[in-house]
């Protein structure tokens, strides 16, 4: 079946692939800041950096919320998003965020000495909630068979991995004393990111027609330049090289972190933009 020969069509009444645009730049930004904040918080929690935790809570609490609300069609009713945790990853995630902000904030207060820690319970809960926020968006994406590029177990893995990596890199760049310890962690995490990207593309290239079309968009056509330069180059190769050769140099660490974040944001954006709906049938031989 030559469905692969069908073009990408806009809103024409032509059979073909249609680019997904329901989750667009505002939603990609919401996803980015949500995971960045949670990842930063989680790593900061492990390293007991109060400033990191504070920054993480603010990034998720303010920036993710702002961008997610700006994406919503009916922002005033958006509290309803929490109502179906039995079936919806958005609901589960929102509960996770509430817990994250809540327990995270309480744990922060504990670390800052204002309240007791309940024997490490708050830390545990905050950490767990952060992990949920780091991962749930990936599950929300992979939940349905519609966008084949997203319909992979690697997507939640990519969320977790990227958010952890971003968290590590932000701390590494802002707390020079942590560099010694964090550089090996960062290197490993970037390699995992690379592995996840490769696996995602590999699965897509050998998957359904929709997945193959998405892979083509990312690696050969519309988004290839962005993908290779920013996601792979700035987001993986650059930080790895800088960390390997000059990770202790604060300036280099900052450039590396910027690269990681740029690559991560571009990934979030492109994974949305390259999502396609498959043509529902084809008659060409």
């Amino acid at each position: 079946m030559a469905v692969k020969d069908l073009p990408i069509v806009g809103d024409s009444f032509k059979l073909g692939y249609r680019l997904q645009r329901y989750w667009d730049t505002p939603m990609a930004s919401a996803f980015f800041f949500g995971e960045l904040g949670a990842g930063l918080f989680f790593v900061s929690l492990l390293l007991e950096s109060a400033q990191g935790m504070m920054a993480g809570l603010l990034i998720t609490g303010l920036l993710k919320t702002y961008f997610h609300l700006s994406h919503m069609g009916v922002p005033t009713k958006s509290w309803r998003a929490i109502l179906r945790p039995d079936r919806s990853w958005i609901s589960r995630g929102l509960i996770g965020i509430v817990c994250f902000i809540g327990f995270g904030g309480l744990h922060l207060l504990n670390v800052m000495g204002y309240i007791p820690g309940f024997g490490g319970l708050l830390k545990l809960l905050a950490g767990a909630a952060a992990l949920v926020v780091m991962t749930y968006q990936g599950f929300a994406m992979s939940h349905s068979t519609a966008i084949s590029l997203w319909n992979s177990g690697l997507i939640p893995v990519s969320s977790l991995t990227y958010s952890a990596t971003a968290g590590v890199m932000v701390l590494l760049a802002s707390v020079p004393e942590s560099a010694q310890f964090l550089i090996p962690v960062a290197l490993i995490l970037h390699l995992v990111v690379a592995a996840v990207l490769l696996s995602l593309l590999h699965a897509a290239r050998h998957g359904s027609p929709g997945a193959r079309k998405s892979a083509e968009l990312l690696t050969r056509t519309l988004y290839a330049k962005w993908f290779f330069v920013l996601v792979c180059g700035a987001g993986v190769l650059l930080p790895v090289l800088l960390l390997w050769f000059a990770g202790n140099v604060p300036l280099m660490a900052m450039i590396a972190a910027t690269g990681t974040l740029a690559g991560y944001y571009t990934f979030r954006l492109l994974i949305f933009k390259a999502g396609v709906f498959e043509p529902i049938m084809s008659f060409r031989p």
Partner: protein, 204 residues
């Protein structure tokens, strides 16, 4: 209780899109929103050319992924199989839209309601009496003209189709028009591998 579905007879469809406009009429759709589209595929090399006209609309899947992912519970399935969207509950998050393998969801943008069908901000009386059924910003879709079905009528697109290419009815009734056509002419649903169990079938 009926289990409603539809059959598209590709041998009959002439791609006139009367259905598209009949639907826009019936449902007071704002600009840019289509609850149904008739696509075409042209293939072959001159002079051995082919073109097929392919009507599409929400497949009212038995295993509707849009319902599964809806965080507010706005999307629900009626006992008769029609998948509905409650305008009071929808928050416009678009989870349904990215969950539908058939891309049959439509965003009802607030600007569309403000600009009107003529794009000038002059809202016609037709639009005024129809738009209140929607919450601007919601993401919704074809509902098989559920109100008409309740009144014993076929959906608007089915009624207006000049060539009777759209056939609506109870898939659980073996003698209904769609059931017979599926049986006699080998009806097949679109993208069955997406595992949503659509209730719309194509015959040719």
């Amino acid at each position: 209780m009926a289990r409603y579905g539809m059959v598209f007879d590709l041998k009959r469809c002439i791609g006139c899109n009367a259905c598209v406009i009949g639907c826009k009429q019936e449902n007071s759709l704002p600009d840019g929103v289509f609850f149904t589209r008739t696509l075409s595929e042209e293939y072959g090399v001159y002079p051995a050319v082919n073109r097929v006209y392919i009507p599409t609309l929400c497949n009212h899947c038995e295993d509707a992924p849009c319902e599964k992912v809806c965080p507010s519970g706005a999307t629900y399935t009626r006992p008769d199989g029609i998948v509905m969207v409650d305008p009071d509950k929808c928050i416009g998050c678009g989870s349904c839209a990215v969950a539908c393998p058939y891309d049959q969801r439509s965003e009802m943008k607030a600007e569309a309601f403000k600009d009107g069908l003529f794009g000038t901000g002059e809202i016609t009386p037709f639009e005024k009496q129809g738009y209140p059924r929607y919450t601007p910003g919601m993401v919704t879709k074809c509902d098989f003209c559920s109100g008409r079905v309740d009144a014993g009528l076929d959906p608007a697109c089915v009624v207006t189709c000049p060539t009777d290419a759209r056939i609506f009815g109870d898939l659980d009734d073996p003698n209904s028009k769609p059931s017979k056509l599926i049986r006699e002419r080998g009806g097949r649903p679109p993208l069955p591998e997406k595992n949503t169990r659509p209730k719309v079938y194509y015959i040719d």
